[in-house]
């Protein structure tokens, strides 16, 4: 009986002991893993790096003498593989080391001596180069993503853990030239540039970097037979550079290459944003630009040929509201566009107004944004034309 009882106790006890041992092994292995390691899916988007658990502990020695972490796309929550991660001691930023994230977005730098209680900078997709240059805010290693920098302090064991959100690039439209016309009598308008314009960008948040200017050449004509409010533009990528120092913020934004190198200009519809008032000086239109009116009668076409060859700069009036808008890290950004024609190059604007035979004289108002023209000399690639109606 007792033998049976003993045998029976063993039959119950042994599986229990085995189960307990398995539990212990599982618990130990789980606690010893770094955060997210072994997880098939990354943490949810929006999770703050500060809330992520610190690795280490459990049944093993605390991690030491290394920097590791993960890089995630906060828009999708997915890991970002094959991304270059730099690390440098605060006092030797010109001598960095780097590695790449693996397929899980994980990176590990364990071949340096990580000093305890010291400041290290971890940057992703750009940073201090061996030649002493700094590509943060200017050149992305991978043009598909923006950049990130954070300041970390190693623990007493010389260990740093990072969880980094890296924003992907976004597609934006970069405008080039705009035409507003409320009349069917403007027959044809041509913009030609025998050379190029530099488009500069300024950001509503942070500053601009990356490709902060774009040189563009254009030969373009609008066939205007009816009211026409539109601009031409191309698809570009925009990226952002987030710096946790000093208070965390979007430090730099900008344009970072064309989406399609084969793309030509595309036409986009917009709405007239100016309303001329004949009772006000300069028709109540923004200062810095000049409005001029012309009386034109039937079957007597009037041609306008504006040409500018000296150096000048102007801002597009519409870019503040619809130029280039995007958001990074939840921060809304607008890039204003300023254009410059380099001295010696030619910018030409042509258009003609033709009323039908016998039509009464109409009054037309011509306004070019951002530039004061003297008779037949003007600048700017934003032209407004209004038919102000019949005059006696």
């Amino acid at each position: 009986m007792s033998k049976k009882m003993t045998f029976g106790s063993q039959r119950v006890l042994l599986p229990l002991i085995a189960f307990g041992v398995c539990l212990l092994i599982l618990a130990f292995s789980a606690s010893a893993r770094p955060a997210y390691a072994g997880d098939s899916s990354p943490p949810p988007p929006g999770a703050s790096p500060q809330t992520r658990t610190d690795p280490g502990g459990g049944g093993g020695p605390p991690p030491s003498n290394k920097i590791d972490g993960y890089v995630f796309n906060p828009k999708t929550g997915h890991a970002v593989p094959n991304m270059k991660v730099y690390a440098a001691l605060d006092t030797s930023e010109d001598c960095p080391t780097y590695t790449y994230t693996d397929s899980n977005g994980h990176f590990l730098i364990n071949w340096l001596t990580i000093l305890p209680n010291r400041i290290y900078y971890v940057t992703v997709n750009g940073g201090y180069q061996l030649d002493g240059s700094d590509t943060l805010g200017s050149v992305c290693d991978d043009s598909s993503y923006g950049q990130w920098r954070e300041k970390d302090i190693s623990d007493i064991n010389g260990y740093i853990s990072c969880a980094i959100d890296l924003e992907p690039r976004q597609v934006v439209i970069v405008p080039y030239a705009a035409l507003y016309s409320n009349t069917q009598y403007c027959q044809l308008m041509t913009y030609t540039s025998t050379s190029y314009h530099d488009l500069s960008f300024s950001a509503s948040v942070g500053s601009t970097g990356f490709e902060s200017t774009q040189a563009m050449t254009v030969s373009f004509s609008w066939g205007v037979k009816q009211r026409n409010d539109s601009y031409i533009g191309k698809h570009y990528y925009a990226v952002g550079y987030w710096d946790q120092e000093p208070n965390g913020g979007l430090k730099n934004t900008g344009i970072n290459g064309e989406v399609d190198p084969n793309e030509g200009w595309r036409q986009f519809n917009i709405s007239e944003y100016l309303v001329p008032d004949s009772n006000k000086p300069n028709y109540g239109l923004p200062s810095g630009s000049q409005a001029k009116w012309y009386g034109i009668y039937g079957n007597s076409p009037v041609s306008f040929h504006y040409s500018e060859t000296s150096s000048f700069t102007w801002s597009y009036g519409f870019s503040g509201s619809l130029g280039i808008n995007f958001d990074f890290f939840g921060v809304s950004v607008n890039l204003d566009v300023t254009a410059t024609v380099t001295s010696g190059h030619t910018n030409e604007v042509d258009f003609s107004i033709l009323l039908p035979d016998g039509a009464p004289t109409h009054k037309f108002l011509v306004y070019t944004q951002g530039f004061t023209f003297i008779e037949n000399v003007t600048g700017g690639l934003e032209v407004h034309l209004w038919d102000l109606g019949v005059i006696s």
Binding site: L188, S221, N262, F268
Partner: protein
């Protein structure tokens, strides 16, 4: 011989030597290019359009298009039918004619493309262009070398108006594109070089007629202009060039253009092998005193109204 006479003779000799160096030696080491005309080559005739570009533009305002057969009556005409597979699986069949002619300064390229209609990638907010390009294997080696030369014209039809809205012109270059395609491609020169050069365009007129969906175009481009970094087509007076050439027609959509070519398309599967391209001859050796059929000249001041 007095020292003054010696100085005078030396000075004269120096001037002659300098003239020899600057004017004679280049012609010895860079003789005029006079290619032999191969069998089956397309010889581009001397001609000028029968109407000025201003007149053609005015005609488009009345009729939507202009008559390319009249405007390019004395040009070489090449008929072909483009078949473009669209995004929805349908095929647009586009009977077309391309016109070629030249005078001593310009190459004239005309086109009539019937059944193009508007670009399906256009919508109420924006309109994408429909593009034609002619590409040149300038050295005629059968292998493309940067930059070669080409011209691209895009015509935009605005929807929902279904009316001609505008045209654009780009010189085209054969270059390595390292950001997206990571290979040699034909691309607009201003996309590659970000401007800073004079393009080859001299003048242009384009139109669209929405009943038959026909796009018409005519442009003149310089046979020689100061833009050698983007354009290898730089002919001198008295030269005769034989070049490989290719036509392509497409509907533009970002990273997904729909295209056909003549004699066959290469767009999207670019190859440096141009040995199979047809040959074009531009012969500037015997300029005629008058141009056949011409009653108009290209406006020397460019587009104006």
């Amino acid at each position: 011989m007095s020292w003054k006479r010696l100085l005078l003779v030396s000075l004269l000799f120096l001037i002659l030597a300098t003239g020899l160096f600057y004017y004679l030696l280049p012609n010895i080491f860079n003789p005029l290019r006079l290619d032999q005309i191969p069998d089956g080559a397309y010889v581009v005739p001397w001609m000028q359009p029968s109407a000025s570009f201003e007149q053609l533009r005015e005609e488009t305002l009345v009729r939507g298009t202009f008559d390319t057969d009249v405007a390019m009556a004395n040009a070489l005409k090449i008929n072909m039918t483009f078949r473009i597979n669209m995004w929805d699986g349908t095929t647009r069949v586009i009977p077309s004619t391309v016109y070629l002619g030249h005078d001593s300064q310009y190459l004239y390229v005309g086109g009539k493309f019937v059944g193009m209609y508007s670009n399906p990638d256009s919508d109420a907010n924006s309109s994408a262009p429909e593009c034609f390009q002619v590409l040149f294997d300038v050295a005629n080696k059968g292998v493309l070398q940067t930059p070669e030369s080409g011209s691209m014209v895009g015509v935009t039809v605005r929807v929902p108006d279904d009316t001609f809205w505008g045209w654009q012109y780009h010189d085209v270059v054969w270059v390595y594109e390292g950001n997206v395609y990571k290979r040699m491609i034909w691309m607009p020169a201003d996309n590659y070089y970000s401007g800073g050069f004079n393009d080859s365009l001299k003048d242009e007129a384009c139109g669209y007629e929405n009943y038959t969906g026909t796009i018409t175009m005519l442009f003149s481009r310089f046979l020689r202009v100061d833009n050698a970094q983007v354009n290898a087509l730089q002919m001198k007076p008295g030269e005769r060039w034989v070049m490989g050439f290719l036509f392509e027609l497409w509907y533009q959509k970002v990273l997904d253009n729909r295209v056909d070519g003549w004699p066959q398309k290469t767009f999207g599967a670019w190859s440096s092998n141009s040995s199979w391209w047809p040959k074009m001859v531009i012969d500037l050796t015997n300029p005629p005193s008058t141009y056949p059929g011409s009653n108009a000249t290209t406006n020397p001041n460019g587009p104006s109204f």
